[in-house]
Symmetry: C2
Subunit: 157 residues, 2 copies
């Protein structure tokens, strides 16, 4: 029984599905869209280590909000199919575009987290006054840090 991550290992569709908690339909769909292209054994799909790596990238891309089309573009950037220096220069531009877009997303997330944390602190302060018994254990730290009740209302910017 080989290590689940040994490079020479191969996977059935179901094995990958279980590992990554997706459905066979999804994997076939990604294949349809050109994001995966596993080998075949007769009719059956056989995924190898590279396919598995691509899948992790696909799912990560999805989690950060990229469309399958975007993800496909990125995956194509990594495959040295090439087409000459002009193509490479174009790829480089796309890489940079994606980096800029993701950095913006990171900013948004940071803002959102800040708002949420403020709202959270407000809630904790409020609960601390009325029903401290309902507070989760680690909330005292937030209180000690000086949570202000009116933070609830500062949700805009």
């Amino acid at each position: 029984m080989p290590d689940l991550r040994r490079p020479e290992r191969t996977y059935t569709i179901r094995q990958l599905c279980i590992e990554f908690k997706v459905t066979p339909r999804a994997l076939r769909f990604y294949e349809d869209k050109g994001l995966l292209s596993p080998a075949r054994e007769g009719l059956n799909r056989v995924y190898n280590y590279r396919d598995r790596a691509r899948l992790t990238l696909i799912l990560r891309g999805k989690r950060v909000g990229l469309s399958l089309a975007d993800i496909r573009e990125i995956l194509e950037l990594y495959s040295p199919d090439d087409g000459g220096a002009a193509q490479a220069a174009k790829s480089l531009r796309k890489f940079r575009d994606q980096i800029v877009a993701l950095e913006a997303k990171r900013e948004d997330i940071d803002h959102a987290l800040e708002s949420l944390r403020e709202g959270c602190a407000g809630m904790e302060a409020r609960l601390a006054k009325t029903r401290p018994d309902l507070l989760p254990a680690e909330a005292e730290a937030a209180q000690a840090a000086g949570a202000r009740l009116d933070a609830v209302h500062e949700f805009a910017k």
Copy 2:
């Protein structure tokens, strides 16, 4: 002509649409889904400062990949409609859930950015060997930092 951000200001649907680069249809849709509820002047919608603030939150939520349903839940957390301490405790849990989810997303973005930057560096190194003339201006820094060509292939994890 009042300051565009004075709290007492109101906005027509079109004004908000232009400012935030969305369509009237989108704003009406958000209203349909319970994320906005502007006042009316006859039939016409009249948005105030609070509505505008909610809209910024809605769009930010969208950019970080939340569904309108998620965003609505969060918005409801901020409105002190209340319902007692039990309700507040529930809200607090939801706040924390969202925070945890967003932190995970941040992690994903950081991973993705790392991969992209490696790929980018690989591309730059490659171009530097073949057609340095096609390189954008600031690329030398990356070269000096020791970009390795085979980084292109380390896209998995």
